[in-house]
Symmetry: C2
Subunit: 358 residues, 2 copies
Amino acid sequence: MKKLTVNLGTRSYPIHIGQQLLDNGELLTRHIRGRQVMLVSNDTVAPLYLQRVRQQLEEFNTAAVILPDGEQYKNLDTLNTIFTALLEHRFNRDCTLIALGGGVVGDITGFAAACYQRGVAFLQIPTTLLAQVDSSVGGKTGVNHPLGKNMIGAFHQPGCVVIDTDTLDTLDDRQLSAGLAEVVKYGLIRDAEFFNWLEINIAALMARDKQALEYAIERSCSIKAEIVAADERESGQRALLNLGHTFGHAIETGTGYGNWLHGEAVATGMLMAADLSARHGWISTEMVQRTEQLLRQARLPIKAPQEIDETRFMALMAVDKKAVDSGLRLVLLKAIGDAFVSGDFSADLLGETLRSAA
Amino acid sequence: MKKLTVNLGTRSYPIHIGQQLLDNGELLTRHIRGRQVMLVSNDTVAPLYLQRVRQQLEEFNTAAVILPDGEQYKNLDTLNTIFTALLEHRFNRDCTLIALGGGVVGDITGFAAACYQRGVAFLQIPTTLLAQVDSSVGGKTGVNHPLGKNMIGAFHQPGCVVIDTDTLDTLDDRQLSAGLAEVVKYGLIRDAEFFNWLEINIAALMARDKQALEYAIERSCSIKAEIVAADERESGQRALLNLGHTFGHAIETGTGYGNWLHGEAVATGMLMAADLSARHGWISTEMVQRTEQLLRQARLPIKAPQEIDETRFMALMAVDKKAVDSGLRLVLLKAIGDAFVSGDFSADLLGETLRSAA
């Protein structure tokens, strides 16, 4: 088992990564506040793992709420079902929520914990690769609005993150690929060596080699922990983690939540960011091709949906929360392993990228 | 004009109290972040004051959203209409919300600001006495759930509070009385001298004497600011501000939001807390009578609704967020001007208080 720490002063917390961790209740119980524990999962993950986790918590007063699976349910209505469950079970301010599932379950549970009685504790047990390498770490929580993704939320750090890599055995292929998109992102923004490692090991990762997956998760979490520790509330470098996300959110919103997986949209968005960077001459077209090749091998989409034309893309991106005043800012690349945030790009070249993306 | 400060380190903010402050735009503009300003008001207050405030903000890109007036609309659906307005106007992370109205508008606007894009700035212009002396100060924001009042929310401090006492000219009598309930509360929990002052000046306050009102508001805000500065997130003495609120919330929830005004429920709740304290011998029955007399003179209800019997009271109070584990804790009185929080009271005597309350 590997242990990393997200260093945030009094809000610091550990990330445990390894096999069979779901049966190691102690990793959770030492971080539980109070006696009341609400497990939040979805109808795909709960039948597989809920009982096992609950068994580890016999000394607590536990209850569970099972959400429908899918990004289209990441909204205020679903959030409210968690509040209703908490209130029906008379949970007080001194309780703990545990998110058992993918990114949607983690984001919505974290936001419920941020708002229930103005803030209670929560723990993360991410069961998808995407949640393990990205959304479970860093305290960004929230839900979507029909007019924009993750527009409603809070910063609320978990008490711990427990990543059992065995849960990836039950993940479907499309979800595994979606998670790899975020893994590739860490290489692109911060770590050229890791990007090279991914190019060499992509076949092992796709074959679900446990050692390869564990290393990829550890490296990803480690980069994310470092960035979050330096900039918890995204006033600076944390924005680098949004590489591909402004384009990606436009794809997700434009196609309706749940049709494209978040990781799929991010993959296409990263390639668009690389393309735009190359059009400015900041990176070579060879680097764009390497990125495209790696995403292809991870069976990720590399083309934006036909139905989103340039005008629609621009409208969708304008509402994205990374927009400051009317100036759109994007995460772009200076090299593989070196990203930066800029509003200083050519609108004409952006148009070219948008027109050639589909 | 009087100026108080809520001392919270980097989140400190001023409270301005005086006449004609709505026409003093500078009080607001120096605290506005970004160029985009969303005014949030309700359909009672907006026709009276919205245009005047908006006039002061001509240099900004302003928009407005008007909520229906009433506690029954303090819910997630109404909250969502604010998010929709913000997104339709393409407001970004660097924007400011201004709450213009009573406690409901302030609480819901503050919560919208806490959650929109994970947190934007907001300012408070409270226009009811209750909001001026209580809810606009201290950063508690939130909405109700059908199963409990203020169960969903956040701590989010405003950038400033502007209290124009002229807005009380348009307040109806029932709302004025409701505000006086919270004013009486400050005397009961912290300041016997102020309680005496209220006994002497209650007729002037009911006659809307501006000087008397200004003093009562200043003294109330000053006590609240002191308590909030010492305990922002209610881990200790801030709970004293909930005198009468556990009983009061039970009345509000039990009768359906909007039937009893919050201040009315708090008045009856405070009298119940005084009654329970006297039954323990902690205060004299004379003190209970003085409290009852003052509340009567403020035309506040002193009897709980008949339809909430002892059993229903207990069930409603058990879900109140001041309950820790299964032990109910209440704010009780040692003297006028000296409140304390305790779980150590007689269940039998509580039963007597509940049975004799209606």
